[in-house]
């Protein structure tokens, strides 16, 4: 009997160390990746790199076009996706509780969240570029990404609205407020923190996307700085992709430096979102 016990105990210990090893594996991979990026890329990172246009020579090339394009895309996507996403969330959570259309919409959103991002590119190629005639523009790109990240914003909005206690709604109605007044003046302000968290996470995802944009017509190589929503554009991840496809080592180094910038943006945005989430969760201790 005790021999069985010892075996059991040994197995338990072995698994414990295996568990630690697996956890360390994940962390180690993260560390190795970050190290490889930083070590190769930091030397290349300088003001010239940030402000130069693309070039056939790696030493002259820079990410200015990509940064401007990414900023444009983030801004336009925010303009489109935030009102649509928050409005959808409000409808589903505050108005549509029992009706069939709301359930159908919910099923749609759940399914859409699992659709590969490149499919959105195909949708955009046909509908936005061709049928609606927006062409291969910033507008098309931001519409594409808006549809892609809409579920993120909708879910975050719904969670935040749900977290507002019903007693607040009751108090508002008892004072003679209408449903919309209650939502606008009490519930939205109280859920703003959670909604913003979702928005930032959605935009952070959008800034890192490349596949749907490539399919819907973002340019791989362009020296033109966009100045209008109908202009051609490229974004930082696509520039990185382009450089990684070139054989010259100099471009690989460029890609590394650009990755540092992209990761920096991504991590800062996610960090802000997490900070907001923590602050908001502390705040709503009614």
């Amino acid at each position: 009997m005790s021999k069985r016990n010892s075996i059991n105990r040994i197995n338990d210990q072995v698994f414990k160390w295996f568990g630690i090893a697996c956890t360390i594996f994940g962390l180690a991979m993260l560390a190795i990746f970050l190290y490889s990026v930083l070590s190769e890329g930091i030397p290349r990172l300088d003001w010239q790199f940030l402000t130069s246009l693309p070039s056939r020579k790696p030493e002259n090339a820079g990410i200015f076009v990509g940064i401007v394009g990414s900023l444009w895309i983030m801004g336009l996507t925010a303009l489109i996706a935030i009102p649509l996403g928050v409005a959808s969330g409000i409808y589903l959570e505050e108005y549509g509780k029992k009706n069939m259309i709301a359930s159908f919409i919910e099923i749609n959103i759940t399914n859409l969240a699992g659709v590969p991002s490149i499919i959105y590119g195909l949708l955009a190629l046909e509908i936005f570029v061709r049928v609606l005639g927006f062409g291969k523009s910033l507008l098309t790109g931001s519409l594409t990404l808006s549809l892609l990240v809409l579920p993120i914003i909708i879910v975050a909005t719904r969670e935040s609205l749900k977290a507002v206690p019903n007693t607040i709604r009751e108090a508002s109605y008892a004072l003679g407020a209408t449903k919309w007044q209650t939502i606008l003046y009490q519930i939205l302000p109280a859920s703003a923190g959670g909604i913003m968290t979702g928005v930032i996470l959605a935009l952070s995802r959008a800034v890192g996307e490349s596949a749907p944009l490539i399919v819907s017509g973002a340019l791989i190589y362009t020296s033109v700085i966009p100045s209008h929503p109908m202009d051609d554009f490229s974004v930082l991840p696509i520039q990185i992709f382009n450089w990684l496809s070139r054989p010259q080592k100099g471009f690989i180094v460029n890609a590394t430096a650009a990755i540092i910038v992209l990761l920096g943006i991504t991590f800062i945005m996610n960090g802000i979102a997490i900070y907001l989430r923590n602050r908001w969760q502390k705040k709503i201790k009614w």
Partner: protein, 299 residues
Amino acid sequence: MSGFAYSEMRIKEKIIEGLLLLSAAISILTTFGILYVLISDSYPFFQKVSLLEFFTDTQWTPLFADKHFGILPLVAGTLLTSGIAIAVALPIGLTIAIYLNEYASPGFRKVIKPILEILATIPTVVYGFFALVVITPYLQNFFPEMGGFNALSPGIVMGIMIIPLISSMSEDALYAVPKSLREASYGMGATRLQTSFRVLVPAASSGIIVSTILAISRAVGETMIVAIAAGQQPNLTANPLEPVETITTYIVQVSLGDVVQGSLEYQTIFAAGITLFALTFVLNNISFYFKKRFREKYE
């Protein structure tokens, strides 16, 4: 307040509700849009290429002079890379979930979980870089015959990317198992290992399955990692050391080139797209079924 102002207000409330409903209905439009585009743009393709040829031809060469339209090489590439990804992510992710749940202290768990989540936020081009520039050269130490483009490297990197998907969701599923089951097992003298595998994992199986299927779906739909590191050669193979092309990277390849709109070559990306959509749609709905089962069990 006069009656006139009253009905004005009622109308305003109704209009607002209508606008909100329209916003929410965008998602219905999106679904229909996707279905419409995929079906209507691949339909002409399937009129020229029979379904039999599509599913059985072993070559995919729509852009060459000698055109073949068999989807199998692309499907093989997708399955190979996704298979490697799951082979990496499932054991590691599940082990991490069990470890964090039963072995680790709550403080450790609180710190580690968010750090692992970082893996899920890294843009996929960056992962593509790791696969091409870090992992492939490293693997070439073990497989000197392997070329710079192969299926193993992006497969492993995809696996690393989806570890948090499996570990987080599985951990939540394990956490949801009622305390009474744990106590019963420990009370009989079982170790953490035995409790985990004989009691907890089976009890949380629906949740774990959901996380796995979602991770597979994510891997199947992944584009950039494979586009950067796997080469873009359709190749019907099970050998991970060879370059492959997946359904997704084919679509990117065509988008990068100059293909005439409306041509047969152009339509191939929609044929590929609808195949991909069908695959992930089936996977996702299987996972919804299991998710329902999981919910019913614990609520």
